[in-house]
Symmetry: C2
Subunit: 459 residues, 2 copies
């Protein structure tokens, strides 16, 4: 068991109505349909910063969930991540009303050439003054492939090879194209930037080619904090090379500990230290003034949740059309080209559809913690210690009250137990997470790229 | 001469230091180097809304200006649109502090597949509540092509064929994928959206293929207000089909009138009405309490401007390396694959380099109007009437004072002459510009696409 320290906390959300806990948009107090309004997001950011959240983590998907019943019927009716708007565009408005809150934004490497994507991220790092993280996803929906004119998604492992090449090019742009002292802003000498400090990068990789200057001057973190969620064998190797924060799914602390140890071993094998990654588990929390009131609130939520919608969501991730099963049929899991073991459910073989649905009572498949602020704080502390993890991606239930309740009830209880910060640290998101400066660790692959160009250690 | 009406006014800027009037970043009061800070942009938005500006028009370039001297030396030293950050990410923060100001954002069709770009724009239209415009550019820098792994930019006319296909796919996504009444938000019936009202689009064009549902529900304008700047023969045909606002360059009112008449004829030939497009001319203004004070301010600005930097910028647009010419050499213009006649200078054959530089005294190549608020207002009125145009893209000089001075001195003078609104109109950017509703005109190509699908007239 590792020594407990301050728990890291991300709010897990998405620029859409139904994210993880499906059906709750029908709750009379739920406002998730306001996702198209800027004030919905600026209010969220303000609430999270009041609760000292480390970051808001914004999921994304390109494509639609059309596996369940072979159609989008339930997807549309329950707004299961459809409609879904662009996540990056929420960040500038939320950053404008906060000073410390970090942002983890999901962007699929299949969407855009790394050259222009690099600028998009650098722009966000500038505008947030070093508070941006990127959740690297490599895509898994065939519907997305068809939408951008390809016949089917690339095979699972090949997607990671392509992503490796994508990252290699990004590191060149972010870390090596502009020297730290290239920007002078010297009005008298008429030198905004010294051309000798700006370098054309050359990349001739198996998937991407580029020759050019990075369009952005160096931002506070240069490379954003890198998040990743793949926990398959190939996904773990990718995480070991690139990720600074890994988001895992685990139904219990034993599973969390097992995955956590595997990941840290892989990180060490990649020449880094076990603590060079932060591991976060996805959870749902329903809290109240007392345990009894929290249970009552859960019961009220469950009446609006839709377990079948949760199953339709899971169908897309697992590639299995659960609609074809009877309630007492055992689900047969076969090999799939979809997400591999990002969900705890996928590891539970031999369940019937009825048993699956029972686990999705709140409409989602994340471990659920219910109780007073102190009960939840104790359980989060147990997860952290026994699961050997660093923190949590907290999913939403009924918004905005789920965030407000957590900040009001759970945060003070965590603080009382010494499990949570009482003020934000200074500087960038990366420095607050790792305490080793604003830039990539010298042990990270992207930083080595930097050293290779004779640019010295990251500052 | 057309009847004068209220002048349309866009602030013309870019997410970079040096935009049009180069060298002014060295002026002691200039703050354009604050472009990486959110408050720089939110303050701009607030100033512009106080001045009832119709929109802020944000230029962009992917690639660098490396024609002048065959290198980026002067480009870097004078920050000639390098560094340059992403323009779209400024909009959410500016939208959050304004209610009426529109946004015209430049995005190159070569950057991203239309499927994901469509969602990015829909997201902006949602978050701004219908205030988004898109300035369609098809790209012209070889440096950009190399940066995204292509050997050279496509030939000029072929770029427009590709853009036509890009737009055709976008119209399908924006206008036809979701019915107006598809989104129900009916909690009791558990129907967020009716699947029967969401249609998969199919596109098998010469350049782009797609099969899928648009990811965003209908936004207030569906298709953003379409801006365009190409005034070559092929560019005019493209504008006649697609553009709602056209941004032209003209050194004098005779040229403006000629281009304006050509454009409106092309629009009529495309089955639209002459007033279905708004034509805006790029200008620079230096104003002051009196004419004498304005001239003094100009003199002060000119001391910090850099005409050679203006020439380096123009070199990239024209494809001519002016650095190879002596001061008294006449410039030889040949055929080029670059921008065709978007600039008035390009039409002035037979100038020597010295004469060109004299026209770039303020560091930029836009017509310059200098004087008191009333003098400038009179001159803008003359341009509008004689040039048969609808308004202006006002470039920046020394920021933020150029915006503040214009709002303080010129706007009231325009209002006194009845040439400018005294309050914002209601609803979306499109409705404020054309007064015919939030959606594309039924005469527009994108709207015909809608009718083709039996979806009725735009509302």
């Amino acid at each position: 068991m590792r020594q407990p320290r301050e728990i890291l906390l991300n709010a897990f959300t998405m620029n859409c109505v139904g994210h993880i806990n499906h059906g709750l948009w029908t709750h009379p107090r739920d406002r998730s349909h306001d996702y198209t309004r800027l004030d919905h997001w600026t209010q969220l950011a303000t609430t999270l910063e009041a609760g000292l959240f480390d970051a808001v983590f914004i999921a994304d998907i390109v494509g639609v969930y059309d596996v369940y019943g072979g159609a989008i019927d339930l997807t549309a009716r329950e707004s299961i991540q459809l409609p879904v708007n662009d996540p990056t565009l929420l960040v500038p408005a939320m950053a404008a009303v906060t000073r410390h809150l970090g942002f983890g934004v999901t962007v699929n490497t299949a969407v855009e050439h790394p050259y222009t994507f690099a600028r998009r991220v650098s722009t966000l790092d500038h505008l947030t003054d070093g508070r941006i993280g990127w959740n690297i996803v490599t895509g898994y929906l065939d519907s997305a492939a068809r939408a951008v004119g390809k016949s089917a998604m690339a095979e699972h492992d090949a997607r990671y090879d392509r992503a490796d090449d994508y990252l290699a090019l990004l590191y060149k742009l972010w870390e090596t194209s502009w020297d730290d002292d290239a920007v002078r802003r010297d009005r008298d000498a008429r030198v905004y930037a010294d051309p000798a400090g700006i370098h054309e990068i050359h990349h001739d990789g198996p998937f991407y080619q580029s020759r050019g200057y990075h369009l952005s001057e160096p931002s506070p973190q240069r490379t954003p904090v890198l998040f990743q969620a793949g926990t398959s064998g190939r996904g773990q190797r990718f995480a070991a090379d690139h990720a600074e924060c890994v988001f895992i799914s685990a139904g219990d602390t034993d599973t969390a500990r097992k995955v956590s140890r595997q990941l840290r071993e892989a990180v060490v094998a990649a020449g880094r230290r076990p603590d060079d990654i932060r591991i976060l588990v996805g959870i749902s929390v329903v809290t109240g003034e007392t345990d009894v009131l929290a249970e009552a609130r859960l019961e009220e939520y469950v009446r609006h949740a839709n377990p079948e919608a949760g199953l339709a969501h899971f169908a897309a991730g697992s590639g299995i059309d659960f609609s074809a099963y009877g309630l007492d049929d055992e689900i047969a899991y076969g090999p799939t080209n979809a997400i591999q073991s990002t969900t705890a459910l996928a590891r539970q073989r031999g369940l019937t559809k009825r048993q699956l649905l029972a686990q999705l009572a709140l409409g989602g498949r994340y471990p659920l913690i219910v109780g007073s602020g102190d009960t939840v704080a104790a359980e989060l502390g147990r997860w952290q210690a026994e699961g050997e993890i660093d923190g949590f991606n907290l999913t939403r239930t009924v918004v905005p009250e789920c965030w407000e309740d957590f900040v009001r009830l759970v945060v003070p209880a965590l603080q009382k137990r010494g499990l949570y910060k009482t003020a934000y640290g200074e500087r960038t998101l990366r420095h607050r997470l790792f305490g080793e400066g604003d830039r990539l660790s010298p042990r990270h692959a992207g930083s080595k790229r930097r050293a290779h160009f004779g640019l010295g250690a990251a500052k």
